[in-house]
């Protein structure tokens, strides 16, 4: 049993609001280069529309948080040019709003639009992000935050990617019901000790910290 397996992570909570992502990353020997989330403040009321996606907040949530994360990295002291970057999407319930919508249409004899075809898997929004941002690393989707961190660690340790964009998404339509809100958080991860493309980033990046605590 490795230290990785024994890491005392408690990421079974479906609410992302209390996750200390830099700490969780550090437990796995990773560090957070940038972070983003949705919502970030009370100003985040209307989720930006994501062209090509319809009927569920899942993909727009993922895109909003990931976009903020990557923008923070690009416009911070780092490079705008990303090396080979993996995209890992983690969600306990997946696109539950989309799944319910499809089930209701099937059971009620309703018509299904063709766009729901590719939205049925979380890879779709990962592909959107990868195409827009030039992320050429592996695309992997898993069922929760802990698994997401572990898979990102493996991809970095094995050299499948130099960086990993981890996107955590949970919809209000899933856990808890009324009173909950849709949430997504994204972190750009690098190995703790070795990141040759970004040596200039050694040391603290204070601007990351407030956003990284999600």
């Amino acid at each position: 049993m490795s230290p990785l397996d024994l890491a005392p992570l408690n990421l079974s909570r479906l609410d992302l609001s209390h996750l200390d992502l830099p700490r969780e990353a550090a437990d796995l020997g990773l560090r957070v280069l940038a972070a983003g989330r949705w919502p970030e403040s009370v100003a985040d009321v209307a989720l930006p529309v994501l062209p090509g996606f319809t009927g569920s907040s899942f993909s727009p949530l993922a895109a909003a948080a990931a976009g903020r994360c990557l923008d923070a990295y690009a416009y911070g002291p780092g490079s705008a040019e990303l090396p080979v970057t993996a995209v890992v999407v983690a969600s306990a319930l997946g696109d539950v709003a989309g799944a319910v919508r499809v089930a209701e249409a099937v059971d009620g004899g309703g018509r299904l639009g063709p766009l729901l075809f590719f939205q049925a898997v979380p890879n779709a929004v990962a592909g959107h992000l990868a195409a827009r941002r030039g992320l050429t690393g592996p695309v992997v989707c898993v069922g929760g935050a802990r698994s997401g961190f572990e898979v990102a660690e493996v991809l970095l340790a094995d050299g499948d990617a130099e960086l990993a964009l981890l996107v955590l998404v949970e919809q209000a339509a899933g856990p808890g019901g009324a009173g909950r809100v849709d949430r997504a958080a994204a972190v750009l991860l690098a190995p703790q000790e070795h990141c040759p493309t970004h040596r200039q980033l050694e040391g603290a990046r204070p601007w990351v910290t407030p956003r990284a605590r999600l």
Binding site: G94, F117, A124, A126, G127, A131, T136, P138, V139, G177
Partner: protein
């Protein structure tokens, strides 16, 4: 996009397949599935499991009756662990990596009960019922999900983080995914899957539930077990091209293949068979042919290639594992799965497709060397697994 894959690394331990279990349209067990694959006997028929009136296509490859995903997952995990000869204590120390679309009950659960239907809880339930270590990790990356699970299991074993992992995956054709694939125009209008063929019109869904014991060669040896296969290499890469269309030049899949060969420590000339993703889609098959030529060079024109989806259909999250089982079984039997449904050559897919026995181009002998099993998915996800006989 660079073709460089020289950054791919792996741990030093040799990784083997210790046991397998499977359910397909052809029944339970490896034998019926392999028999259909090497004969090129497809399992597609009218869907009677649920209502398909109003759908454009009404065919899939179904196991008879109404199998339950949970029960069949438990059964294949038992079959795989049993064939590997694992004791109860060995199972209890073994994590489960499970590839599924999600908990099948989630979409129709009352909102208050939905948190109990998280996919991780579903995986934990399989682990608990089958006597594996608690927890369980769930993979949901569509048609590459079970290849991801195998790759991560192989990585963990190769690095010595664990002795073994049970990888399982399941998809049983159901009305929701059938409906969205039909609405998206992805299903084959002529009721056949014709990978790499002229006149191909799309995919058809198929039942697939499979499990694999991925373990270190040392652990198998210590148990006195004979491994079924060596998991020599694995690789993954992204297209960075489109939400759901493949990159036409195949560069992402080619990098995944290159990483698998690099981890296996072999060149393209050692590849003796490719079980392609080969969904039967116009764009996807052409992109995959381009990827094979890009990754394998001159070997791509002569290495035998088939897509066993032409026989058992597309099992979505379970597809890569189902096809890995077919590939391992074919290597062991010394016979190649046939690329069924071929109407004629497509100039965009210049590959040496495996024909049925007695047809021109049928394999002259058993497969020689290693076999690649390839998977691609929406989002530009690509995966390659490299296996060989022990």
């Amino acid at each position: 996009m660079t073709d460089t894959v020289l950054t791919a690394r792996r741990g030093p331990r040799s990784v083997v397949v210790g046991g397998m279990g499977v359910l397909s349209a052809f029944g339970r067990g490896v034998g019926p599935l392999l028999g259909a694959a090497v004969a090129g006997r497809s399992g597609f028929g009218p869907v009677e499991r649920f209502e398909v009136a109003g759908r454009r296509v009404d065919r899939a490859a179904l196991h008879p009756g109404e199998p339950l995903l949970e029960r069949e997952l438990d059964r294949v995990v038992d079959e795989a662990c049993g064939s590997a000869g694992l004791s109860a204590a060995q199972r209890a120390g073994c994590p489960l990596y499970l590839a599924v679309h999600g908990d099948p009950a989630l979409a129709r659960a009352a909102p208050v009960w939905r948190p109990g239907h998280a996919v991780g809880a579903f995986a934990a339930g399989v682990a608990r019922r089958t006597g594996l270590a608690g927890g369980g990790r769930a993979y949901t990356s569509g048609c590459t999900a079970s290849a991801d699970a195998v790759a991560d299991a192989a990585s963990a074993v190769a690095r010595g983080r664990v002795e073994r992992v049970v990888v399982a995956a399941g998809y049983l054709v159901e009305p929701d995914q059938f409906a969205v694939f039909d609405a998206g125009g992805a299903l084959a209008r002529d009721g056949r899957v014709r990978p790499f063929s002229a006149g191909r019109s799309g995919l058809l869904l198929g039942d697939g539930v499979a499990a694999l014991v991925v373990e270190s060669a040392d652990a198998a040896r210590a148990r006195g077990a004979d491994p079924l296969a060596v998991l020599a290499g694995w690789g993954r890469a992204g297209d960075a091209h489109h939400v759901c269309r493949p990159r036409p030049d195949g560069a992402g899949l080619a990098r995944a293949i290159g990483a698998a060969l690099l981890r296996g420590g072999v060149g393209p000339e050692r590849v003796g068979y490719v079980n392609a993703h080969g969904a039967g889609s116009v764009l996807g098959d052409a992109a995959e042919a381009a990827a094979l030529h890009r990754a394998l060079g001159p070997v791509a024109a002569r290495v035998p290639v088939s897509s066993s989806k032409s026989v058992h259909g597309q099992a979505l999250e379970a597809g890569a594992l189902l096809e890995l089982v077919v590939t391992v079984a074919a290597l062991r039997a010394g016979r190649l799965p046939v690329n069924a449904g071929l109407l004629g050559p497509d100039p965009d897919c210049p590959l040496s497709l495996v024909r049925a026995s007695g047809e021109p181009g049928a394999p002259a002998g058993p497969p020689v060397g290693l076999a690649l099993s390839l998977s691609t998915a929406f989002g530009g996800a690509n995966a390659a697994l490299l296996v060989g006989l022990p």
